[in-house]
Amino acid sequence: MTLTANLTKNKLVEMYKMMVKIRLFEEKVFELYAQNLVPGTIHLYTGQEAVAVGVCSALRKDDYITSTHRGHGHCIAKGAEIKRVMAEILGKKTGYCKGKGGSMHIADFNIGMLGATAVVGAGIPIAAGAALSIKLRKTGQVVACFFGDGASNQGTFHEGINMAAIWQLPVIFVCENNLYAMGTRQSIAMKIENIADRATAYGIPGVVVDGNDVLAVYEAALSAVERARRDEGPTLIECKTYRHRGHSRVDPAKYRPKEEVEAWLAKDPIKQLRERLLQSTILTEVEIQRIEEEVSTEIEEAVKYSMESPYPAPQEALEDVYA
């Protein structure tokens, strides 16, 4: 991992801090889950932090993102308040969706986070539509659309990216290839190695990037975003990465060979960036320590806030069906 000339020290530190925030947030969610405090299921983002942070760091505040069942990281990287993310995950009235959405459906329209859909692949045409809207309204925004390797086998991938391509829409398609869709290895579900090669089918560029190298992700995203903003159309970016935990809840992920897991844990994106920042003396051990403390404090506050928040009143279930 080399540091890039494009990034100020501040930005690098911000990115590092954001990755730590996502990591510690997710570990806290896991902890709460283990204590039976989180209803339903959860899909943690640990291990993939470099993707959300690398991509969102290349976006403007008013740019949009769309997200998935594994979306906490995307929300936080786009700038969501973690206390409201946590409150939503706990089903509280103070959550972003008033408890109606939960972990799999967080949205914050104020920061351009257009929401997570739990139907795998369904966000792809929606992202293309937001990009069409941008183009028609001429606002110069860009959309980043996150989805997994598994999602790339859905019809929506084909139809949605094709439409974005023909209309040259300002959207970047970010495939987080963490090698598995639940217990299904990529090689069981497709014959090709690089999902980025599917870009050929639509006449758009496809790029493979080390998804555990936040700077590489950032650079790839930035150039795709700039391309989109120049009205040159979409790019498909495949980020090779790995989830540290099982797919959801209680999945022990026994389908993954031990050596594979270890190899990927050794490539932990946060550790990699930390080492680089230390080496290049952008951060000291003490500063790193301080960042972790700050983040931990913020998370503790978020937990406190969301634990103390009330549940919605039952009849609120009847609200928000129609505008």
Partner: protein, 324 residues
């Protein structure tokens, strides 16, 4: 008042709303300058508004709706056309799981001002994949509105209301109605959703019908008038929201209900109409409820077969007579 066709009424609604609000745009297969829509509803609009606002799409129904959803939640007012109602089956995820539910899932953050125009119905011998009536599927999806205009007047007023509204609407047209003419004022008007129209007043029996079946019910009413039976024809105009009150009030007056719809009988539109009355107005009934609908078969191709399954005025007359 001037008379125009249902097709022209729809086109006028689109044109007026596109002039009125630059956020309104159209997308769909072959709706643009090369074809003007399979049923020519959008003919000429690309020439006026350009290809950007009258956008031809690839054959990708699910993405057409998905793209429209994405545009709708970010400030546009898309009107998507699905060339045949049967093909909504390909887009059910984006319609029922995304368009209809995003607002709710996101705790009210999203507004989804999206209209999906699509023609349902049989009668033109194009068989099982191009002739269904699937309104009931959409009635069963909270978060969606369902419009079912039977006349040019209703078509224009409802479509304008749909486009100005802030909710996703399945706007159900009917292939056999496009050429039907009727009075439509030149002035701007809208028809609010959820307000039924009594298409004919009567005393002895209430017929609730939609789309083509309104016209067949009116014919049945005429036939029966000669025999001294007075039929009230209630056209809900939108199935969601549904003007229950109008239906129940009519049944209170007549004491008899025949629900008529072109869809397959089981779990169809008429089931819901019948159930509402059985729940809320059963004490006013002087006879069993009757449903007139298609038998539970796909739509066959051959003309005698197709005519056999599509309800006609005779079937309505027969049903009425059975409970009079």
């Amino acid at each position: 008042m001037r008379k125009i066709s249902y097709r022209e009424a729809l086109r006028e609604a689109l044109r007026e709303e596109m002039r009125r609000n630059p956020a309104v745009f159209l997308l769909g297969e072959d709706i643009g300058r090369y074809w003007g829509g399979a049923f020519k509803v959008t003919d000429g609009l690309a020439e006026e508004f350009g290809d950007d606002r009258v956008r031809d799409t690839p054959i990708s129904e699910n993405a057409i709706i998905g793209v429209a959803v994405g545009a709708a939640i970010t400030g546009m007012r898309p009107v998507a056309e699905i060339m045949f109602g049967d093909l909504t089956a390909l887009a059910m995820d984006q319609i029922a799981n995304q368009a209809a539910k995003l607002r709710y899932m996101f705790g009210g953050q999203a507004k989804v001002p999206l209209v999906i125009r699509t023609p349902f119905g049989g009668g033109v011998n194009i068989a099982a994949h191009h002739s269904q009536s699937l309104e009931a599927w959409f009635m069963h999806v909270p978060g969606l509105y369902v419009a079912v205009p039977s006349t040019p007047y209703d078509a224009k007023g409802l479509l304008k209301a749909a486009i100005r509204g802030n909710n996703p609407v399945i706007f159900c047209e009917h292939k056999l109605l496009y050429h039907v003419e009727g009075e439509v004022p030149e002035e701007d008007y809208i028809i609010p959703f959820g307000v039924a129209d009594i298409k004919r007043e009567g005393e002895d029996v209430t017929v609730v019908a939609t789309l083509c079946m309104v016209h067949k019910a009116l014919k049945a009413a005429e036939i029966l008038e000669a025999e001294g039976v007075s039929v009230e024809v209630v056209d809900p105009r939108t199935l969601t929201p549904l003007d229950k009150k109008a239906i129940i009030n009519s049944v209170k007056k007549t004491g008899r209900l025949v629900a008529v719809s072109e869809d397959c009988k089981t779990a169809g539109v008429t089931a819901e109409i019948a159930a509402i009355v059985a729940e809320e107005a059963i004490d006013y009934l002087d006879a069993p409820i009757k449903r007139v609908a298609e038998p539970d078969t796909p739509i066959p191709f051959s003309p005698p077969l197709e005519q056999y399954v599509i309800p006609n005025e005779k079937a309505i007359v027969k049903a009425i007579k059975e409970i009079i």
